[in-house]
Amino acid sequence: MNAQLRAATAGAAGHPTTSWTTWLRGWVSRLVPPGQALPDRQPTYVVSWIYVFGVLTLAALVVVLASGAVLAAGGVAWWHVSGLGHFVNSLHLWSVELLFAFMVIHLWGKFWMAAWRGQRVLTWVIGVLAFVVSIGTAFTGYLSQSNFDAQWISTQAKDGLNSVGIGAWFNVLNPGQMLLWHVLLLPVAVGVVTVWHVVLVRRHGVVPPFDVEPGD
């Protein structure tokens, strides 16, 4: 095998670089620096409670998704007629409350750190996107309670959405459509955006405080 041919191959099996598998493997391996996907050491300035709220948000999201999956298994009326259903419904509600509380404190901390420094603008923007998509997911949760509260909220929401011209495609008066957005489309969106955000954090590292910024 000559040098030119070796350059045109990649991987132990010698697959050509035109293979999408090879391309995807290389792309995944370059997403974060070596050893930074699941690091066991962090910079010294990370030893602070303010750096905890990002992972607390992730922990709350796991509880939200797990309790939501149990609610989905029980069905749309289960949490009204079952003691266990009431408990899981409350678990879902309070994990969402904690999710937003942790996320907003995380946002406050990163805002006052100017966490977009050091080529971290996209990390900040995707975090904002995660916040916005999470709000949309929570709002469709209000509409999926299968009670009078959900009906009242939908009547209040329709005028705002109709005023921006999306009521025909995103109809808050259609509980079936809102439930499917809440249990499938928006959770997938939240998951994708969250993974994207975490990968960017691992790719660029945790933003340092102002007084230890490289070059200062």
């Binding site: 930074q36 690091p39 050491r41 962090q42 910079p43 010294t44 300035y45 990370v46 030893v47 602070s48 409670w49 303010i50 905890v52 709220f53 509380a101 907003v104 404190i105 406050w108 901390g109 590292g205 340092p208 230890v212 490289p214």
Partner: protein
């Protein structure tokens, strides 16, 4: 039988009014609690932070 006072919207919560700004007491307390947690996170020492100089980190 449910009494009218229990289903009246007027008894559904307490609100704080400041000019054109209105917020329920519940939401106000939650926001205040979040601010308190935020400040505590800034000022409370993290466990093990006293040893950090001895060990350091690997990614400045």
């Amino acid at each position: 039988m449910t009494s009218p006072s229990l289903i009246s919207a007027a008894s559904s919560g307490h609100y704080v009014h400041v000019g054109v700004f209105t917020i329920s007491v519940t939401n106000l307390l939650i926001i205040v609690a979040m601010i308190v947690v935020f400040v505590l996170a800034l000022v409370l020492p993290f466990p093990g932070s006293a040893d950090v100089d001895a060990h350091g980190g690997d990614r400045p």
